[in-house]
Chain length 63, copies 6
């Protein structure tokens, strides 16, 4: 079964090349440190838009 | 209050008919096995795109 | 790879037998309606305690 | 570091003004009650569409 | 049906009084700004331990 | 503000040393590939117990 499951939540705007490298490197990091084989590791990317993310009570789109 | 809460995360591409059947059958399964009345059970569908999901360090869109 | 991923969030207190039946029936319901083979479907159970869940501004433990 | 993290999951359709007020008031409420400074509090908005949310085995889009 | 759903993820250690006030004030803030009636709003508290949360590559328990 | 946010969901049982290395290496991988500075990256570890995780309709604790 696939495991661990990794979710990376970030602002939208990264390129496909960045995302491709991201899942590759993160998978390697998780495999190396947990001992889980790479083929069991799943990575999800979740993108946020600037009007749906706030810090200090203010959305990024309002700053 | 609504409860349990069920989230189904899957690749995009299922039809509306499949999704309609999915929430109906899952709700029935949860109700039958937990004893919660159907009207208290909420189901969320979350869709992933192929460039945001990877196994073995490779996104589905790159395989 | 495992997919879809199903998360069932519910109040703590169900028996092991209920949980065993829950994952079995939910998996069958998802497989039947999405066409995904059962061995690709993962189910997670997440339990909430009554002091960490509120409706109408009141926690269950306070009602 | 930012903390607490607050996620508000709701049906799509709120205006930008409503979302702006939402993150402001929620941040204030969390800061006041937990003692965390506002600049450490992050708020995420997640929107659901009516065909991806069901109660009682029926999606909102089917009711 | 209950909605919106609010999740507050924070370090463990808040008192029951703080949590009670937290869900009450957050519910009021969400109701006031989204127009949802309080009895439809659900709030979940999720606690993290210091060895399961890291910023800058270092867990809180290691700082 | 902290961002990206990374969540690693895995079976319980890893040692503190493994978790310490995990958050360090994952943070480095995310920083290198997204360009986000390490001090903006948060990592959460979520552990599952074997009776709350199932594949193929069967919990790990039942296999």
């Amino acid at each position: 079964m696939s495991m661990p499951y990794v979710t990376v939540k970030m602002l939208e705007g990264r390129t496909e090349d960045q995302k491709r490298a991201l899942v590759e490197k993160v998978t390697a990091a998780v495999s190396e440190t947990t001992g889980a084989p790479s083929e069991k590791i799943a990575v999800f990317i979740e993108e946020m838009s600037k009007n749906h993310y706030a810090v200090n009570g203010k959305r990024l789109s309002d700053q």
